[in-house]
Symmetry: C2
Subunit: 248 residues, 2 copies
Amino acid sequence: MIALAGFPLVQAGDDLSALIAHACDRTGLALQAGDIVVVTSKIVSKSEGCTLLLHDVTPSENALHYAEITGKDPRIVEVVLRESSAVSRAAKGVLVVRHRLGFVSANAGIDQSNLENGDERVLLLPRDPDESARRIRDGLRDLLNVNVGIVISDSHGRPFRMGNVGVAIGVAGVPALRDLRGEHDLFGRELKITIQGYADMIAGASGLLTGEGSEGRPVIVLRGALFTSDQPVTAHALNRPAEQDLYR
Amino acid sequence: MIALAGFPLVQAGDDLSALIAHACDRTGLALQAGDIVVVTSKIVSKSEGCTLLLHDVTPSENALHYAEITGKDPRIVEVVLRESSAVSRAAKGVLVVRHRLGFVSANAGIDQSNLENGDERVLLLPRDPDESARRIRDGLRDLLNVNVGIVISDSHGRPFRMGNVGVAIGVAGVPALRDLRGEHDLFGRELKITIQGYADMIAGASGLLTGEGSEGRPVIVLRGALFTSDQPVTAHALNRPAEQDLYR
């Protein structure tokens, strides 16, 4: 795992593929086929201009209701609800929703840190992180003539466990899951626990170098013993379908 | 991240510190202060003899009840219940419990793969994985005169997300969580999302090399930019306390 050095602050309209190619060059790293490049959702959102000014937001009745339960700013709650398909749990200080992208997360992944005029501007997640990942992958192929995998990472809390970990919300060239069914263990028994949250493992690993909340190391390259694919992929495969979800 | 080469099949009574020291030697790796050694729970359990023969198990009434709901072998259900403090969810093919060690997992982490006489013998999780981690850490200090961190990893499913990922069930010399509260982002705002599931991130990262169900690469060494500690630590810190758990 290698963190790209001296990555610049990202602005709306920036071409992330070009910034990554330049940062690889500065780091002295030549990307190779099969490398996986992990990019934080934060810089993807910033490059895509996914920001919103809070003073433009008028809270709905529903937002006022959940603001009262949670004690959060009603305008923030309004933005969270707009980004969500359902509220999963609300309590003092906690608003967990099913994001429009299908995963369950606190505050719909909305971020107020590392933004100029922090208190009045919020950053939403990218509109379609799989599409963002494909665009970065295509851009790097055009610029460097190399096929890499891309994972867009976000930092999530978890229902039963303390502490945030990285998860994948967008993928390109990297399978979201790896299905090991049919493989056998050392004694010839078919494996039972057989599906790896592969892109989540990659996002989680990269978090050891990214750190939390930092924009200083937003791009991590993984090399060696990794599995990429030219098949169509989507991070939606990581969202547990409703009929298998016992904790809705 | 480095997978130790040619790790032998572990037997009850084996000294894991000695096996790890030998495997480092074979791999040409000299452990350094601050390295983190991740060991799968499977080989810890095997070395501690945490196995059970199913023909010695008589299912209780409660086990027969959950066997009917889940369709699982009543003897396996009995063992799962003995290892648990509560059933979290039961459905066809699914038995999720709160393990006596405090985390929520499917089948209490009981494993039937990679065991000789697979169908009749099951492997339980280590009795006290924090204690196992300390013992391995102390052993490596005695053998190699080096202070490393130890993480005992297990592979867990997740309520809202598909695919298993590695988590930490025992730690020594590595904080379970890293609390970044009080740190500031690039614009001087205090960070809001502030607690990292640090040992879980390490266990998850190591899973990229360990693979699933394999005993071939059960020990992974992480080096560089990692945080170890000589303070007392416990993996119990990763278990969300009941009063913060909205999904019990």
